[in-house]
Each structure stands twice: as C-alpha cells, then as structure tokens.
C-alpha cells in the first residue's frame, strides 16, 4: 500500500502540541512507516499539497493568515484533526476576545513600547476581530483536546485514522 500523507500546521498556539507530537518516542518511527509528513513546521514544503490524508492543526484561528491556511488545509485534506485546547476551545489566545483588537495592539505596541512605538502592519497578518476555535472556521472531523495533548493520545488518534478507524479518546480525553 502507498504511504499515507500527514500535513501539520500551527496557527495561534505555542508549538507545545507539535512538541508533544514529536515526544512520542519510538511511536514516531512506527507512524512514519505508515505515513509521510508532507507539510508543516517540521518539514520544508512551501505549500499545503493536494491529497493529504490527515491534517493535524494546532492553534486557534486568530489572524487572516490562520484562516487562509486552515481553509487550504481543509480543502486539500481528507480528515482534519483539531489538536490541542487552542484549536478545540480557543484556549489562551481567546482570552483577548473581550478586548477590541485595535485597543489591544495599541496597549502593547504603543503604550507598552519603550522605543519606536507604533502598531506593526508590514509583514504581519491582520488580526481577526475574534479568536475562534478551529471548528468555527472549518469543518473539523476529530477533536483532541489537552494543553498539550499527551503524546500517546496523539499517537493513538493518528494510528486509528491511518487504519481507517474513527478514534474514540475514551478515558484519554482531557482538557487543560
């Protein structure tokens, strides 16, 4: 059988979920025998390829770029996994939601700046009005909460998906 394809990406999160993904010890070897990681912060590809079997998305949807990447991943992947509390609930990034983003940026980059105050606009994506969990932006097939999810939960979910089964986290389900 052809090797399956996994794509990963990291929206508004801390990279902790990707660290947890890498932390599954020899599990990663077994996983990579069945699938290649074809996109994400761990590999070089410039663009999310077509025909990905499993998209693993860390982080909440916070900026225009996050939204675009999430939509592309969705359109080009068979199954989408929301990985970690930020992707599943909005988590820490969503704590800015009570504050208008203009005010927030000014507080940090103008009032809070000791030199060269000014809200950056060049080369940084515009913030969305509200941080949303992934399922508010795209259709999500599997939710894996946790901050970060345990490596063995990630391994379990990916292994099940690669075998064509629907993973049931059962007692592995954990928020925070």
């Amino acid at each position: 059988m052809d090797k399956r394809k996994i794509g990963t990406c990291w929206l508004d999160g801390c990279s902790g979920c990707h660290m947890s993904l890498l932390d599954m010890d020899e599990g990663i070897v077994a996983l990579l025998e069945k699938a290649d990681i074809v996109f994400g912060p761990l590999v070089d590809a410039q663009e999310w390829p077509e025909g990905v079997d499993v998209a693993v998305i860390e982080g909440a949807v916070s900026s225009q770029d996050d939204l675009k990447l999430a939509q592309t991943a969705r359109a080009r992947s068979h199954v989408v996994v929301a990985l970690g509390d930020c992707a599943v609930t909005g988590n820490v990034p969503s704590m800015r939601n009570g504050i208008p983003s203009r005010k927030l940026l000014e507080r940090i980059y103008v009032e809070g700046a000791t030199e060269r105050p000014g809200v950056p606009t060049d080369g940084v994506p515009a913030l969305l009005k509200r941080v949303e969990p992934l399922q508010a932006a795209i259709k999500v097939d599997v939710h894996v909460p946790g901050c970060p999810p345990k490596p063995n939960s990630i391994l379990f979910v990916l292994s099940e998906l690669l075998e064509g089964r629907e993973p049931d986290l059962g007692s592995k389900l954990r928020f925070g």
Binding site: T89, N91, S94, N97, G98, A136, L173, F175, G176
Partner: protein, 235 residues
Amino acid sequence: MTEKVKVRIDGEVIAATPGQTILEVARANNKYIPALCYMEGLSAVGACRLCMVEVSGVARLLPACTTPVQEGLAVVTSSPQLQSHRKIALELLFAERNHVCAVCVSSGHCELQALAQDHGVTHVRYPYNYPRLTVDTTHPRYVLDHNRCVLCSRCVRTCAEIEGAHVWDIAGRGIHSRLVSELQRPWGEATTCTSCGKCVQACPTGAMAEKGWGVEEMTKQPAVLSRLTSMREGQ
C-alpha cells in the same frame, strides 16, 4: 418508623424513605447520576440540569436532585437521550463563560471538567459567548473569577445554610445572571463575611479559590462541609 416506598432504579427494586429525592436514593444505592449543583448537606435547587432522569409515565425529563420518590416510581438513569441531553447541558456551560483550563487553578480537580471528560465532550458545538467578566481579588484570602462560575449556587447555599452568613446571592436573569456578594459590594468589603472559606470549598469549579495557588494546584474538600451538616443533624 416511617413506612418505606418501593422504587425501581434501572430495573432494580429499592426500598426508599418517603421524602428522599431520586438522587439521594440512587446515591445511597451506588447508582450513578451526574450532578453539579447538588451538594450533600445543602438544600437542592435544580439549577444545572445534569441530573435529569427518565421517569416512566412522565413525558418530560425530571431533575433527580429535586424530585421526591413515591411508591412505584420507575427511573432510568442513563439512555442515549439522557447522554445527549447531559452533553448539551455541559457544552452550554462552557459556551456561556470563559473556561481556559490550561491556566486554571482547579484544572485536574474541577467537577465541571471531570463531568465533560466523563461524558465524552470533546468540543463545544455551540458558538462561544466570550463575555467580558471580572475577577474579584478584593478579599485578602480568596478570589472569585466570574469567568469560571457556572451559577450552581453551591457557595450561596453553603454560606447561608452552613456558615449562616448569607454573603452571596445571584442577581440578574438568564445569561446576565451574576454571583454577587452583599448587594454588589466587593467580597473584600462584605461586612458579613467571616472569611471561613466554606464557599471556596463548596465551589465545584475554579471560580472560587484560595489565593496563592498556581495552575492545577487548588484542591477542595466539599465532603467536609456535607459532613458538618450530617453531624449537626445527628445531634
């Protein structure tokens, strides 16, 4: 001695005392019905709707914590309909306020979080409300974070019924309901508060905590409060 009544819980015939609620009888007989606003030793208010059960001959679901048993009552504690209903109730609690477990003192010891995990709530299917809420840090020993409050009123009842101080109330209606201390005075300025900390121990979530604890560090002992009531009643 009072006459016993016969009830059926999940098919099993159980002798119960009239006046007991379905939840009390279930617990006394090791039958699990989820509950959040109910706490042994306090009056029952039926606020959270997690303890809903099916009662034969009754078309709607009934809260087990406020429904008294009667002769011949037949109760089902778990069914696909009940599971689905309880999941919805839990998800709505999360959607209503701002629960960020990753930075919460009670994570890992929180009754709401545990119920969600036990009921297979992997995500919230409803749009989050993201209300802007305050954190009252005015009390020298305790803190109240409205972001994590589920309005179960366990603190209200504990303070009024066990400590006898009645510092807390719930003001407003529906989605605008808020826990208030002494007619909107900050907790630290509430003259009736004895600083006993009982409300904090009764609170099932990270909404009330002692100061000085970090993420995942705050554990609580509501059972001690329940014991206080049963000891007093025993006198």
